[in-house]
Symmetry: C2
Subunit: 230 residues, 2 copies
DNA sequence: CCTAATAATTAGGTATGCCTAAATTTGCAG
DNA sequence: CTGCAAATTTAGGCATACCTAATTATTAGG
């Protein structure tokens, strides 16, 4: 298939590499090793090497890559990655708010569409939504200029003993988990009271002023990010 | 790139071949010759032969193809083609009605997105729009079951002398033309009074009860379809 | 009915992006 | 400092979908 997208050779595949590097390298833009990329993208390590070489060799490269030493995004690469993340999160918000999608279906649809929408589409849905700052999972939406100020939330899984928190965000990694969390009222903005189960390796939590308690596995607790109560 | 889409090997490219065959073969499903397809798709004739052979050789083929004798859609191919057309026209309507796109920009965006939206997306925008029967250009939207009842409109270019008509639809072939027609009030549903310019090889038209007259080239008149006044 | 023009097909190539298997390189433990 | 294991890279392939050039079919004119 001939290359798609703008002047550059930006394809769906390239977008996904950039997103993965951004996500794995964190906001500070740490070096990312090929193995992590291969895992994240469900692709053979050799394919990663291949792609990184091509990306790095391009006229205005999207990544900085040194043999055997991992990759990081160039300024241009970071810009493109943030644009794709912006698309993704705006689309999710749009599907949820305007098209009444169930929360656990927005991710998959956005994952496909994010690569193909135009600047106009981006601008129009942003306007329609009142230029939202966070998506339905609580993740912040990068600005048009490519700025993203992360919240300094922590993972519930990293809480030592107990306390009361505000839910910052919920991972969209697994649709099933997401559906369950939503059903239990564990959504961004909710107040969460937490107590650690030392025996069961998990947590007992309740929402708001409710006395109903839920058990969460350590696994699930990694998908929830929390903030101290304001 | 690995195949995208459902069980079958439906790619963007295949979709476009099917749409072109549907469009060139008309509602009756006439045989289409490779040359026309090549022109329509801006592709070399050899590429068409190649693709048709693959499509026809598939386990449940989307086309019926005989060497040197053209192609037509199989039942499955027609179903898929109509689904893509439905996507296209629903998306156009959605962009126009919900996202306030200018009329001359809806086609290009829909042309890209039509291949990537899910059944759910289709269903949700259809619901949001109240299950519309025609798109903003006046083209009818195939049903979910793959039915499309064409209007028996005629091209303005085929009008012999003069008369009054209702505008059925306007082609989305050229954005510039479309923008001009919109600006002149030549949009689906409008009443059109026509008089032929024998000398200039074109038409003089006016809209509704307005006395302002516009000249239209023969070229442009091919892009306008009309119905007798009800 | 034969030939010339037109259409279609075959043959052989390009680029993308993925794969496996066989080298390498790196880095950590002893 | 050595040597093994993990990570990475190279080499060689596959599928898609496109291309050009050369060949073969079909069809329409004379």
């Amino acid at each position: 298939m001939p290359a798609r997208g703008q002047a550059n050779g930006n394809t769906e595949s390239v977008d996904n590499y950039l997103k993965a590097i951004l996500s794995l390298g964190g906001p500070e833009g740490r070096r990312v090793i090929s193995k992590s990329l291969a895992e994240r993208l469900s692709v053979a390590p050799a394919s990663v090497t291949n792609m990184l070489q091509k990306l790095a060799a391009a006229p205005s490269p999207l990544v900085e890559y040194e043999r055997h030493r991992g990759v990081k995004l160039s300024a241009a690469g970071r810009r493109r990655a943030l644009e794709v993340v912006r698309h993704h999160r705006l689309i999710e918000t749009f599907l949820y708010e305007v098209l009444d999608y169930p929360i656990d279906e927005v991710h998959e649809e956005a994952e496909r569409l994010e690569h193909f929408i135009s600047e106009r589409f981006e601008e129009r849905i942003a306007a329609k939504l009142g230029h939202p700052k966070i998506d339905p999972h609580g993740h912040c939406i990068p600005t048009m200029e490519g700025h993203m100020q992360e919240h300094d939330s922590i993972r519930l899984a990293d809480v030592v003993d107990e306390g009361t928190f505000v839910i910052d965000s919920v991972s969209d990694r697994d649709a099933g988990t997401l559906r369950q969390l939503e059903a239990s009222g564990i959504t961004p903005g909710a107040r969460l009271r937490v107590r650690k189960h030392t025996a069961l390796d998990g947590y007992s939590v309740s929402i708001g002023r409710s006395s109903k308690a839920f058990d969460l596995s350590q696994e699930t607790a990694r998908d929830i990010r929390i903030l101290p109560v304001a």
